[in-house]
Every structure is written in structure tokens, then in C-alpha cells.
Amino acid sequence: MAADEMLDRASVRELGRLLRAGETTSVALTRRALDRLDTIGRRLNAVVTLLPERALAAAQRADEELRAGVDRGPLHGIPYGVKDLIAVAGAPTTWGAGPLREQRLAEDATVVKRLDAAGAVLVAKLAMVELAGGMGYEQPNASFTGPGLSPWNPDAWSGGSSSGSGSAVGARAVPFAIGSETFGSIVTPSACCGVSGLRPTYGRVSRHGAMALCWTLDKLGPMCRTADDCGLVLDAIASHDPRDPTSTTRPYHYIPEEQRQEGFRLAALRGATENAQPEAVANYAAALDTLRAVATIEEVELPDLPYGAAIAVILRAEAASAFDGFIDGGGIAGLTAPEDRLRPLSNIAISARDYLRAQRIRTRICRDLDAFFARYDALVAPTLPGVAPPIDLPFGQALRRPNPAFALGAAGNLAGLPAISVPNGFGERGLPTAIQFVGRAYDENRVLAVANAYQRLTDWHTRVPPL
């Protein structure tokens, strides 16, 4: 295997070993990432802005530090990209929206500062669905950079709204990226692009400097080649930040050596494969069989609570407020997806009383789900009921099948629970399928331990798309 190809396949942990052994340099990794993003990344509509000057200066600094014996940890010298709703001083921060393509914010977001401090090398701002999908997009072509494409099949969607983060990591253009999730925006593109994506507990990662869509649901998290890498990145970015009052003071440390490797207690969502594609059903069954080597699995149902209704009202009401001037002032007229220019108007009809009722029910949901999840290390389910949809189909025809995984997504995001999506096989049109592990609040290390155990037993995460 050529050296470059080997680097494209390596995890963050493996790249760190190569850097410290002097077998590669941060400058070489960074040049490779910039080149792949400029070619493959652009073909996949994954890139908004490349940052070659900043990146190469940071990479050179990282190499000099390593030579001088200064080691900032596992991310030292590793290139990465951020979803373009994360502020980077000196570069546009477009939020995926055409009317905002010249928007410049004065200061790096906290998550970028944390990664700088960890020695990571920011190489690009990555494409996303306009305004993180908060205007109600109904088809893949909802970004001024074009529809995000899966690296496994350019006729398929990358998933959203962290479309470029998923595509770029899946295409092996960057070892990791930062995405965001309000409702599905990390786990969905992770599944569609065949990468490992971690949605941390709400409040685990500071959102200072990130676009707000829904203050009580927005989270930032890592999208990587392995679950283990997600832990390494989370360790670097998790912290309390006085500039994000919702960030938790609970400490987080990723210490995989201390993790269990077996004896897990898992819950499997009953009916999780209803209306799923046949390959997704078979791959999920095979994954459960694999997991039985390290876990007991009990079939369960979620507590019967109005997850979908509550998240719809909360998300739509907060999005209407977060973008009130943009909507009322006609900014939405310049958005790419025609439905995004009209649908937000409907959200004005949600009253304060209705919003507060949803938030009062959410309190019940959080308490009931905490009691539920306390009994298990994680709940397992397919991430999606099938593979990435074609780019030319509206979601109404491609995605909206009644499936319990939708309720799990609503429940997990309402309660701010951590979840990781990892690839578990392939389905239609050569596209990946995925499973997710959802855990109790602040128990990222448990879901990571289960995902690590699964990835030790399988090799789906090592597959590379035929680009």
C-alpha cells in the first residue's frame, strides 16, 4: 500500500504513533488533507473554505514542537475540519446559507480554541445544510454549496445537516471533523457516509461561537474514522466554558485502558427494523449476534411519551426565535431550498404557552428516560432504517417511514443523551448501514466502550470508499 493511501486509512491514534515515530509529519498530513479536500471534497460538495495558510503554519508549529519534545496529546499535528456554523476568525462562516456567504465573525469558537490548544490543525470549513436544517428543508439540495454527496455513491445524499463533516471524513480527506446535532445532524451523516459519529451529552461541549438553531437542543461533537477517535477528540473539546452557560461542570476524561471490553448490558429497541430495508434488517441482526459475544441483550420499548410532538414544538419555536429577524426581514428569500423560504412562517403560530407545555413535558421525559437508561450500558438500534437516500428524491418519498428509531432520535435529543453511530455493513447501491448506541446522560464513556468493543469484533469501520 502506498504511504499516502496508508495515511488515508489510519485512525487518529495510528497517525499519532506515526508522527511520534518520525514516519510522517504534520505538514505532510496537512498537505494531503488539503489536496484531498480540494479535489475529492469539492466533488462531494463537502468544502466551503480551505484554510491552507493557517493550516500549514499550525502544522509546521506542531512538527517543531514534537521535535523539541513538546507533545500536546493525541491530536497533536492531526488535521481536521469544522462544520461551517463554527466561527473561525479571518474566514467566512456561512452557516450553509447563500445570503450569509460573506459573514465574518471576529473570534474563533471555543471548540476551535480547544483543538488549537490540543495541537490539532484546522484545515477547512466544511459544508452543511443551510441554517442546519432549521427552516424545515425537505430534500438534499438545501445548501448554497449544493447537495452533500456520500463518498460511497455520488448519487446518494451525505445526510445532514453536518453533510461536509460526514463526507470529508468518509472520503478519508480528514481524519476527523466537528459536526453539530440538534436532532439527527451528527448521527445521520455519520450513517450515510460510513463514519463513527458521537453526539455528546447536551452541555458537554461549549457552543460558544457556534450558530444557534435551538438553544436547548444544540450540541457539537466529533465525527471520526473510529469510535476510539471520537473519545480522543471529545476528551480535547469537552469542558465547562463560562461563555456557554449551558456547558457542564462535570469533568470528562477518555481513558480507554480503563474501559470494560465485555459484560455489557444492552437494551435493543423492539420493532427497531419496522419498515427498514432488507439489508438494514439483516445487518442489524448480524450486529446483535456479534454483540452477544460481549453483552447480554434485552428487548425493550421506550417509555410511552410524546417525544415527536415535544421536539417538533420546541425546535420550531426556538428556531423561529433564533432567526426572527432573518425570517421577518426577508433573509429566507435567498435560501437554496424553496421550502426553506416559506416553511418558517408557520412557526409563528406556536404560542408561549404551547412552547412551555412542551418544555414541562420534557422534564417528565428526562426523568423517565434517566430511570430507563440507568438499567443499561446502552440502547442499540439501527441509526436509520436504510441507506442514504438518492439526492434527487424528496425526504417524503425516501426517508419518512414510520420507524421506532425516529422516536429514539427525538427522545435522545430531548433528554440530551449521548449516542454514537458506527457502520455495521452495506446495503442498496453499495451504501453503508449503521447502528447507534444511546446511553445515559454524561455516560459517553459507556457508549464508547460498547462501540469500541463492537469495532474490535468487526471491520466495517476500516472499509474505504471507492473514490
Partner: protein, 79 residues
Amino acid sequence: MPQPRPGADPNPQAQRAAAPSADMLAAHVQQVYAPLADNELAALRPLLDDLAGALATLAAFPLDNADEPMPFFIPYRAD
């Protein structure tokens, strides 16, 4: 004196509210964003139907008077 609205339950320990209809929601949208063309109103209608359904589901969920909304209010102090 307003009449009790259908679906509402006044028991303060298991309150159920009355939800607005899709027509009421549509009237509010029209009031705020008028003039909206017929085709725009028609395009918004399925969203308002969905919203009315979600609000009805939430309104039917019994809540105690003491059920506080998430997130809870926290007084602020700079130090």
C-alpha cells in the same frame, strides 16, 4: 364568560389544555405575514396540520401544576 374549551381538564394535578386548530394557527400566520398568496397558504397548510397535531398531543398530556419547564430558571451572578 368564556365557555370551557373542548379537551381541557381543570384538575390542577392533572391539567389537560385545549389545543388550537389548524385553522386558528393559519389565521395567526395570515395575520402576521399578510398578504400571503393562496398557493403559499396551501403550501403552509400541511405544516400547520402537523403542528396542530403535535399541539393536540401535548395538550392531552396531563401535567401537575408543579411540573416545571425544562430548562429551569437559574438566577445569574457574574462572580
